[in-house]
Structures are given as C-alpha cells and as structure tokens.
C-alpha cells in the first residue's frame, strides 16, 4: 500500500504539467443537445464557416475520417472555420462509449451528442437531402449563402475542397 502511495506521489509532477498545459491538451467535453440547439447552429448567420459532421462510435467509416476533421480544425483555426462533431450514438451510451472514445482519441474539436430518438423527424430537419446514412457532413457559411452536404466519408482533400468552396469570397 505504501509502495502504491509512493508511486502515486512520483506521478504528481506529471499531473501538474498536464494541468499547466491547460485546455489545449485536454480532450473536449461532450455537450448533450436537443434538436433546437443543432438547428440554431445550422442557422448561425455570421461570416463563419461551419463544418458539422454527424458520426457515431459504432460507425467505422466515421471513425476513420475523424482525423481529417481534427486536422482541418487545426489548419483553419485562425480563419473562422469551426468544426462540430455531432455524435448520433444513443444517449444511453454517453458514459459507456462516447465520453471514453473522445478521451481516448483526444478529440479537440467540439463534440456534441444529439439526444433525440425520432430519427425520421430530425434527419429531415437537419437536411432534407440526407437519407440517414452515416457519416454525413454539412459545410456552410450562412453569410455567404453557401452550403455543401455529403452523405459519405470524405478524404482530407475532399473536405478541404469543400471548405474552400464555401469560405473563399
């Protein structure tokens, strides 16, 4: 037992470093939202380009393309581009699956979980063109009245092309 305590003490400076490094080093907290919050995001009128990706921890192609969104977020951080990763995992899986996944991957983009069960209602409200397959991504800039949506996984190049097409004057 004493041995354990010593070992714990030895790690303390490391914890301190992590704390000092601050929010940048920590993964995102998962924000649980209802449909109106998502609709507000999709309607935001400022000259910001939003990249909203719908994914789930059980969706393999979604997981595979997540690094592309993280990379995009870093590259366009100073250029009014915001990435929001909306998990469509069941709300009951928040603690068992979603939070551990976000921590493990160290996701830095904003992560939301849509807590709604009526898929037929919310899919149509999010985008009438979306049939419901995951992954699904919307790239838009409402000030420029531009919007692209993709019911497929995107490569880093495809994603960047979409962002450029939406944000460049």
């Amino acid at each position: 037992m004493k041995h354990m305590q010593l070992r714990f003490l030895a790690f303390l400076p490391l914890f301190g470093l992590l704390l000092l490094a601050g929010p940048a080093a920590r993964a995102q907290q998962v924000r649980v939202v209802k449909l109106p919050a998502l609709q507000e995001l999709l309607r935001r009128s400022g000259d910001t380009t939003y990249v909203v990706n719908f994914w789930a921890t059980w969706c393999k192609p979604c997981i595979e393309e997540l690094p592309n969104f993280e990379q995009l977020r870093t590259r366009y951080a100073r250029q009014n581009v915001r990435v929001v990763l909306v998990s469509l995992d069941f709300p009951s899986k928040l603690d068992a699956k979603v939070r551990p996944f976000v921590q493990r991957q160290g996701l830095k983009s904003a992560v939301w979980l849509l807590s709604e069960t009526d898929q037929n209602a919310y899919i149509e409200a999010i985008d009438p063109k979306w049939t419901g397959a995951l992954p699904f991504t919307v790239v838009y800039n409402n000030a420029r009245q531009r919007r692209r949506s993709f019911e497929q996984a995107l490569s880093a190049a495809e994603l960047e092309a979409a962002v450029q097409a939406v944000r460049v004057p």
Partner: protein, 205 residues
C-alpha cells in the same frame, strides 16, 4: 429584390452538391425490376418465384452494422407475422465484402444459420439491386405490393421510430403500411428516414 435573393439562394443551394447525395432509385409507386440473387442456401431467388406472394418486405441489411443488428429481431418478427398473410421478408446484403469482411457470403450463411432466418438472405454481389432501389443504408426497408405480374413500391424507409428500444417505439411504419395495404387502403406514411450504416460500396478502380 427579395424574390431575386430567394431565387439566387435556391440556385446556389441546387448547384451546391459536388456529387448527388442520393443517386435516384425507386420512388413510391414505381414498378420494380425483378432480380436474381444468390441465397445463403446456394439457390437463386427472384420475386417472381413466389406466385402466391401479395407483396414483399424487402430489407437491405447486413451482418456488421450495429443498427442492422438492432433491428434483426424485428425483421425476423415481421416475417413471422406477415409471411403467412402473403408478405414475406426478403433480406438483401448489399455490402462489398472487400470493404466489410464480416459481410462475406460465408459470414451471411453463418448468421442466417445461427439466427435461424426463416426468409431468404441474398447477396447483392454486383450491388446493382441496391443501386436500382436507391438504397443508401442498412437497414433500409422497401414494402412491395403486387399488381398483376409486377410489384410496385408502397413504402420506403424505417421499420419503426425507435432503434434502441423496440418497446418504446411510438410509430410502426411497416406494420401500418401492411395493415393499410391488406385492408385495401392507400398507405398513409409512404416514406420515412432513419439513421443507418452507409452501404459499403465497391471502391472504384
């Protein structure tokens, strides 16, 4: 001026997609082309095989998708309930096993055996049937109704409105559509949307 802006907005929206999200496929009311697909028992199955069928519940599904798994028992229950009334289930796996190895023909045979599927579980190897139907995800249901020698699409979409908990579903779309068809009424809700796994299309060379 406002009308002009609205028009401009519409044009921008319409021209915005790089690739079309849905590549067409059957709409409700369309006559479907028959197919000839290999079942897990090695025999081929066509819609025309069953002369007594009043229609079919065609379900694009697979082994690997958690949402298809969530609906598996409900798909089996649909067959149990409606096959005797003339509307059997026909399950079709459209996934490319190169992309989803767990959806190979051997894996399909295994799953059908373990779960004792009482309905055909067909392999859409060329993915032509999924393309023709306009299926995008698993599970994706098409209720067909016989008209003479042909079958027409009567309903496209989800089984019900609660994937996680069948007992908590408040809308039973396929049940409702079949009840309406069997009583000679028009189907009221002809299409619904649902979350599912993207069909694993073959990678283009």
């Amino acid at each position: 001026m406002l009308a002009l802006i609205a028009l401009l907005g519409t044009v921008l929206t319409l021209s915005s997609a790089f690739r079309p999200v849905a590549e067409g496929g059957y709409q409700v009311g369309d006559k479907v082309a028959d197919f000839k697909l290999k079942n897990v028992d090695g025999k081929t199955v066509s819609l025309a095989d069953n002369a007594t069928a009043k229609g079919y519940i065609v379900v694009f599904t697979c082994n690997t998708c958690p949402y298809a798994q969530a609906y598996e028992d409900r798909i089996m229950a649909l067959h149990q309930k409606y096959a005797a009334q003339g509307y059997p289930v026909v399950a079709i796996n459209p996934n490319d096993p190169q992309v989803a190895p767990g959806d190979s023909y051997a894996s399909m045979q295994q799953r059908a055996k373990t779960k004792r599927y009482a309905f055909p579980y067909l392999l859409d190897e060329s993915q032509e049937v999924a393309h023709a139907y306009g299926a995008t995800r698993t599970p994706h249901v098409y209720v067909l109704q016989r008209t003479g020698a042909d079958f027409k699409v009567a309903y496209i979409g989800a089984i019900d409105n609660n994937t996680e908990d069948a007992k908590a579903a408040t809308q039973h779309y396929v049940d409702d559509a079949l009840a309406q068809l069997m009583s000679g009424k028009a189907v009221q809700t002809t299409s619904t949307k649902a979350i599912g796994c993207t069909i694993k299309w073959k990678k283009k060379a």
